[in-house]
Subunit: 406 residues, 2 copies
C-alpha cells in the first residue's frame, strides 16, 4: 500500500511553485514556473534512483529497471503544466502518483519483472500553445514534431525557444521507446464520482474534441461621431453569433458540449467600435456522427453570419481528437485491482482530453479517476480528498504490478 | 495665409513616431512613443521662439508674447496621444495647426495684442488611462489631480509613474493660467462635411457621453467534463446581454450611440468555461434627458441579467461628460473667419469628446472641424485632404487674430 501522506506532501510542495492568491496554480507550459516545477519533480525522481531521459519535445521519462530489461516498460504519468487559473491536482496527481508507486516499491525492496517508467508530458493543457496534449501527441506521431516546435503563444514565443530557454530541449528522438502498457491516474474533473460516493472511475474511453477559431471582421471607427447605421461592429455580430454557437449542444444532451473559452477584441479600446473579434470554439461528444452534426451546424451558422463587404465571419479548424476507447484488458485490470483492494468503482467516460488518449493509439492504455470537489477543475479552487488520492494510487500500484509482474 | 505644405510635412514627420504597418499611429498616452512625439513637437515650438511650461499633469503650454502681457492668452491646441490603432490626424492636426499659426506669424513679423499659446493636452484618448480628456479635465478642475495621477493602465502602471518616466511631471500648478479664449481645430471624425463637400464645420457643441464597466461573473470550469446544465458560463450570459445593450440606441436615432469597445475574458483559455467577462459601455446623445433614458434602460437590462448564485452582473459608472454647448461669440468668429476667407462652412455638433469640451467650462471655447476621408477615425486608415487641413488652419489663424487683436 502506498503512503498517502507522502503523496499529499509532494502535491502540496509542487503546488508552491506558481501558487496563485486563490489557492490555485499558474504554471503555463514551458514558462519559468513550469521549469521550476520540472526541476522539483525530476529531482524527486532522481532521488528515487530512476534514470531520466528527455526527448525532443521535452517529455521526461524516468525509468526503474526490471529484472528483464528486454521487456517493454509499463508506464504511468501525466503532466505538470497548468491552466492560467488552474488547480493543484489536474495532471500533477498522475505524475506524483507514479512517483509514489516508485517510492513504495523502494520501501519494500520490490523489483518488477518488466521495467517501470514515469512520464511527464509537455504542454498537456494546450492553453499557452496549441495543439493540446502536445507532448503525447508528438510522442505518438499524431502531431509532427516540427509543427509542435513551431507553435507560438499569443506573444509570438515558440515552443522551440521555450524548450531551449527552460533546458528541456532533449536529444532523445520522440517515440523511440515503445510501451507495454500505459496507465494514467487523474482527478475526474466532473461531478459523477463525488455525487455517487464512489472513489474510483475505471475510464473506458474519452469524448471526441474539435477545436476551431472564429474571426469576425468589421471596421474600426470612432464610438462618438459614427452614426449607428454606418457601423460595421464586429462585436455586435460576434455577440449574436456566440449566442447561437453556445446553444449548439442543446439538441445533443447529455453528452454534447460547446465552449467558447478564448476571445480577443481588436483594438480593444473603450471608444473604438471593434474592428475584429477572434474567439475559440470547443465542441465535444462521444459519438463521431454527432460531432459531425455539431460541426456542420457550426459551419452553417458561421456562413449565415458572414456578410461580405459588411462584417465577415471566417471559421478555421485548429485541432481534432477522435472519441477514443481504451484497452479492454487494461480497463479490466483497473476494475480487478479495485476489487482486490475492496474499493468501489464504476465505469465512466472522460470528458477531458488526456495524454492517455493519444498514448492509446500506440499502446494498450487505461485511466484511473478519483473524485474532485464539486466536479470543478480548471479553477483555482480545484480540490480533492487525500483518501481518494491515496485509493487511486493504490489501484495504480496494483494495476502496474499486475501488468509488469513481480 | 498659412503654409499648407509646411503643416503637412510636420504632420507626416510626427506620424513617423509610433507608425504602424497599416499607415496609422500607435502613440498611447505617456508611453515611450508619446514621449518621442512630445520631444519632436516641443522642439518645433521652441524653435518657433515660444516659451514652454509643463504642468503637474504633463500638459504643455507654449507661449508667444503679445504687446500686452497683462492680457489673458488666446489659446489653441489639442493632443498628440493616439489610439492603439489610431490615425495620423486625430489630435495632432489641432496641435500642429497651432504651431503653423505661430510660424506664419513669425514669417510676417506680426505681434498680437494679447499673448497666444499652443497647448498639448495629456491623455485625451482615454484608452490607456481613464478618465478620457484627462489633461484638460485636470486643468479645468473637473478631474481631481490626485485621481488622475493614481489612474493605472491594464498592466497596473500609473499616470504618476509614466509622467516621471517620460520626463513630463511638470511643476506648474494645474489650471494656474486662465485663458481669454480657446480654439481647437480637429478632423470631424464623422461623415457629414465630406458628404456635403463643405471644408469647415463651425462646431456649436458636443454630445454628452457616459462610460460604464459591466462585470459578468460566473464560474470557471473545464470545457470537457462539465455538463451543460451545470455551467455558469459568464460569456454566454455576456453575449446575450451585449446583444441587448448594443440595441439600446435603436429607439433614439439619429443621435443615440452605444459602443462596447473593450472586452476582457477571464481566464481566457480555450478549454475553460469563462468565469468572468468585463466589458465597457459608451453611450452618447445630445440631450441629457435621452442620456438619462438610455442609462436607465442599461441599468434595467443589467439587473434583468443578474442572477445571484448563478451568474451575476454588476454595472459601474466610469465617467460622464455632459452635452456641452460652445461659446456663441467664438462660434460666430469661426463663421465670420470662414466667410472672410471665402471658405464654405456649416454649423455642426461633435460626436467625439475633445479637450475643448472640458476647457469650455472655464473659458469661451469653439472648435473648427475639417472633413476626414469616409468619416473614419480611430482607425489606421484615417486620412484627410491637405487642402482641407490648410483651410481649417487659415480659419484658425483668422479667428485667433480676430480675438487677440493685431
Ligand atoms: N485533463 C485536462 O484538463 N486536459 C486538457 C485538455 C482538454 O481540454 O480536455
Ligand atoms: N476626439 C477624440 O477622438 N476623442 C476621444 C474621446 C472620445 O471618445 O470622444
Amino acid at each position: 500500500r502506498v503512503n498517502g501522506q507522502r503523496l499529499w506532501q509532494s502535491l502540496m510542495d509542487l503546488a508552491e511553485i506558481g501558487a496563485t492568491s486563490k489557492g490555485g496554480n499558474c504554471r503555463l507550459a514551458l514558462t519559468e514556473e513550469d521549469r521550476q516545477g520540472r526541476e522539483l519533480v525530476t529531482g524527486w525522481l532522481r532521488d528515487a534512483g530512476l534514470t531520466l531521459r528527455v526527448d525532443q519535445i521535452g517529455n521526461v521519462f524516468a525509468r526503474r529497471p526490471g529484472r528483464r530489461d528486454d521487456l517493454l516498460p509499463v508506464v504511468t504519468g501525466s503532466h505538470i503544466d497548468t491552466q492560467p487559473t488552474g488547480g493543484r491536482f489536474d495532471g500533477c496527481y498522475g505524475v506524483l502518483a507514479g512517483l509514489e508507486v516508485m517510492r513504495v516499491l523502494d520501501d519494500h525492496g520490490i523489483t518488477t519483472e518488466a521495467p517501470l517508467e514515469v512520464a511527464i508530458w509537455t504542454n498537456e493543457e494546450g492553453c499557452r500553445f496549441v495543439p493540446v496534449m502536445m507532448g503525447s501527441g508528438v510522442h505518438t506521431g499524431i502531431i509532427p514534431l516540427e509543427d509542435a516546435l513551431r507553435a507560438t503563444d499569443r506573444q509570438g514565443d515558440s515552443v522551440a525557444a521555450s524548450l531551449a530557454r527552460t533546458g528541456y530541449a532533449g536529444e532523445v528522438p520522440v517515440g523511440s521507446q515503445a510501451f507495454d502498457a500505459y496507465f494514467e491516474a487523474h482527478i475526474e474533473q466532473g461531478p459523477v464520482l463525488e455525487a455517487e460516493g464512489i472513489p474510483i472511475g475505471a475510464v473506458t474511453g474519452s469524448l471526441g474534441l474539435r477545436w476551431f477559431d472564429v474571426v469576425v471582421t468589421g471596421q474600426e471607427a470612432h464610438a462618438g461621431p459614427t452614426p449607428m447605421p454606418y457601423r460595421r461592429d464586429a462585436l455586435k455580430r460576434a455577440a449574436a453569433l456566440l449566442g447561437e454557437i453556445l446553444a449548439l449542444a442543446d439538441s445533443h444532451q447529455p453528452n454534447g458540449r460547446v465552449t467558447c473559452g478564448e476571445l480577443d477584441l481588436h483594438p480593444n479600446s473603450r471608444n473604438v467600435i471593434p474592428g475584429r473579434v477572434r474567439f475559440s470554439v470547443d465542441i465535444r461528444h462521444l459519438e463521431p456522427e454527432v460531432l459531425d452534426q455539431m460541426e456542420q451546424a457550426l459551419r452553417e451558422t458561421c456562413t449565415r453570419y458572414d456578410e461580405p463587404g459588411q462584417v465577415t465571419v471566417e471559421l478555421q479548424e485548429v485541432q481534432r481528437v477522435a472519441p477514443t476507447p481504451f484497452d479492454a484488458t487494461l480497463i479490466d485490470l483497473v476494475r480487478r485491482s479495485s476489487e482486490a483492494l475492496e474499493i468501489s468503482y464504476r465505469d465512466m467516460e472522460t470528458g477531458a482530453g488526456h495524454d492517455a488518449v493519444f498514448v492509446s493509439r500506440v499502446a494498450p492504455t487505461a485511466m484511473i479517476f478519483v473524485p474532485c470537489e464539486d466536479g470543478i477543475s480548471h479553477n483555482e479552487s480545484e480540490n480533492a480528498d487525500p483518501e481518494d488520492l491515496e485509493a487511486g494510487t493504490n489501484v495504480l500500484l496494483h494495476a502496474m504490478l499486475g501488468r509488469a509482474g513481480i
